[in-house]
């Protein structure tokens, strides 16, 4: 009776339960769940169901795609480590150092448009990789839990980034809370001037990373040995795979992906070096994206789009007098339902048994 249930089924159930919980919370707190639905549909299609006579506004759609870019990258980051049996909860720190490193290149080096942006992105990714190297190295060669080190590095990344930005970059005298604007050569250009959305050519990097992720993990010997390490590190070691080296590389690649997310956000949306007060939560979003996407490339792309919809829909929610934090609640519920998939599978099996009974109880 222990039928295997696909990762897709579990993800879908988690998403449905998460959304139901969100609707329930909205209902209990005296707001209208229909408004929430409208807000999400608006992000998805640009169509405002509350005011049907108004034309479609594509800005909402582009904002949704813009929101998806960094969380697909952090999703890939968490997913890559996950496939090697590591839990990268350090995306937040890698994101911030990536963002800061990109800001440094943007503000201190003079170069023409395309090479400048590419250099910014590469340096951002390298900084993220360095931030991933630390927990990877400590895990591989000192057997220290990567989760704790990653959490500590998130905060070290926050304060260290702020220190570097405040000390070495030119601070905007008007606000005192950010650097001066990046030169135009270091800004990721917008894809279209049709709408006010900041949707930019960073998406090329996202697509590139998605393809590389799939290719490395599924089509190369290196990827195979990474997956073997994640599946059973003792067996992988016995088979002659370099488990320690794999651990370090995997965390570095994961770090680079989160660093890339930090770089495209700062170069494409903010366009100035940032002083962080709190986390942006992109790193934590990556955890949900990777888990719901079952850590494979297509799944991550789809779940990244889904969570981006929750986030950008959340921003529209304010108009309907529903606090946008509701999307955070839904997201948490989805992670939780994926976490308890053991229970979900038990429930599914019971349900299957129930269906069989209805059909006349023919048990194979």
């Amino acid at each position: 009776m222990n039928k295997k249930h696909s990762a897709l089924k579990i993800s879908l159930i988690a998403v449905v339960f998460g959304l139901l919980l969100g609707f329930l919370v909205v209902l209990i707190t005296g707001r209208s769940p229909m408004d929430m639905l409208y807000a999400f549909i608006r992000s998805l299609t640009g169509y405002n169901l509350a005011k049907p006579d108004k034309p479609i506004n594509l800005m909402y759609v582009f904002n949704w795609l813009l929101e998806a870019m960094p969380i697909i990258l952090t999703g890939l980051s968490v997913g890559f480590a996950y496939r090697t049996g590591l839990f990268n909860i350090g995306g937040e720190g890698q994101f911030m150092v990536g963002s800061t490193a990109a800001s440094f290149v943007a503000l201190t080096i003079n170069m023409p448009l395309v090479p400048h942006i590419i250099l910014c992105l590469v340096v951002g990714m390298l900084a993220g990789a360095l931030w991933g190297f630390i927990p990877g190295f400590l895990k591989a060669y000192h057997n220290i839990n990567e989760v704790v080190v990653c959490i500590m590095l998130n905060y070290i990344g926050l304060f260290f980034s702020n220190y570097l930005v405040r000390t070495f970059l030119e601070i905007d005298p008007n606000t005192n809370a950010r650097t001066v604007a990046f030169p135009i050569t270091a800004v990721l250009p917008k894809v279209t001037d049709m709408t006010a959305s900041q949707f930019n050519y960073g998406f090329v990097l996202v697509v590139l990373c998605l393809v590389m992720y799939w290719f490395i993990l599924e089509k190369t010997t290196f990827g195979y040995s990474l997956r073997a390490t994640g599946f059973n590190s003792e067996a992988a070691r016995f088979a002659g795979m370099k488990v320690k080296r794999n651990t370090v590389y995997s965390m570095m690649i994961a770090g680079a992906l989160s660093g890339a997310a930090g770089a495209i956000v700062v170069l494409g949306v903010f366009k100035y070096g940032r002083i962080f007060t709190l986390f942006d939560n992109y790193g934590f979003d990556g955890i949900s994206v990777a888990l719901v996407g079952a850590a494979n490339a297509v799944g991550i792309a789809l779940s990244g789009l889904l969570f981006a919809l929750l986030k950008s829909g959340g921003n529209n929610l304010q108009l309907f007098n529903i606090p946008k934090e509701i999307s955070q609640l839904i997201q948490a519920a989805i992670i939780f339902f994926v976490a308890i998939q053991y229970g979900v599978i038990l429930m599914l099996n019971k349900f299957d048994g129930f269906k069989l009974k209805l059909k006349g109880g023919k048990k194979a």
Binding site: I89, N145, F160, T167, L278, F336
Partner: protein, 318 residues
Amino acid sequence: MKLIIEMFPIALMLSTPLIIAALGGLFSERSGIVNIALEACMSVGGFTAATLLVILSSKGVPNAVWIASVAAIFSGALLVSIHAFASIHMKADQTISGTALNVFAGGLTIYLSEIIFNAKSTEAYSTGATFSKMSIPILKEIPVIGKMFFEGIYPTTYIAFILVLVSWFILFKTPFGLRLRSCGEFPQASASMGINVVKMRWIGVLASGAFAGFAGAVLVLTTSTFYFAGSIHGLGFVAIATLIFGKWNPWGVLFAGIFFGFAQTLGLYSSAIPYLQKLPNEFFSLFPYVITIIVLVLFASKSVGPKASGEIYDSSKR
């Protein structure tokens, strides 16, 4: 020297929530469940306490601050029971379930603030309604120590000291404590001796939520006048750092908590201290995190933490 004495009450104020939350983490990890949702429990505790205090004190209820604190304790335990259910009964990955709670609490507290107060934070309560600093008669006359420990100290700090003592006694001097700790080292062996691993872990995790909820209340009620998204600002994770630096031991936690509290205070005072003036402020903020990683590296070869902590309990495994 005079400055250090002056800084001490502030350091104690800042270390109190760290110590209490870390003690909570101690119970949980000793029973074998990692609780990275300390941050979440602190947020919910802080929010509950602040909200209740605003409401109760406006109605003139006596002892409102204590009622609010007790409510915070229950709210923390209630929240963490989700984590307990997932990790004890549903074989969930404890890091993932804890992360879910952290995301959840961050959203929930602000969502409810918007519903109740129509703002991104709770309303401010009057400073008269919250804990007041106290001085202990006679003892405060002792030179040096009197000024450091017995003058202008919040009662919550003394509660934290008592909790350290009580936790140590329960965990290390009673049969119950031995059983609970055994579940964090080798649960299959505990089960074979007739110990109810599930029950022990529930107690451990619930205790962690209750402690962290109280810690959140203490943090918000002693260092702020309202709850907002940045109220806890990662102190739940510093509490985990405190637990590790304190080597999973109540006395170690006490020492580590005061140490980290002192580090934060140095940050506040650095401009007044000649040697520290040149150090950037961020240095003091990231200090506890760097220390924790260094400590982990130093202690890596000696396994000081509970062995089975964080592992999914499989009763058939040997």
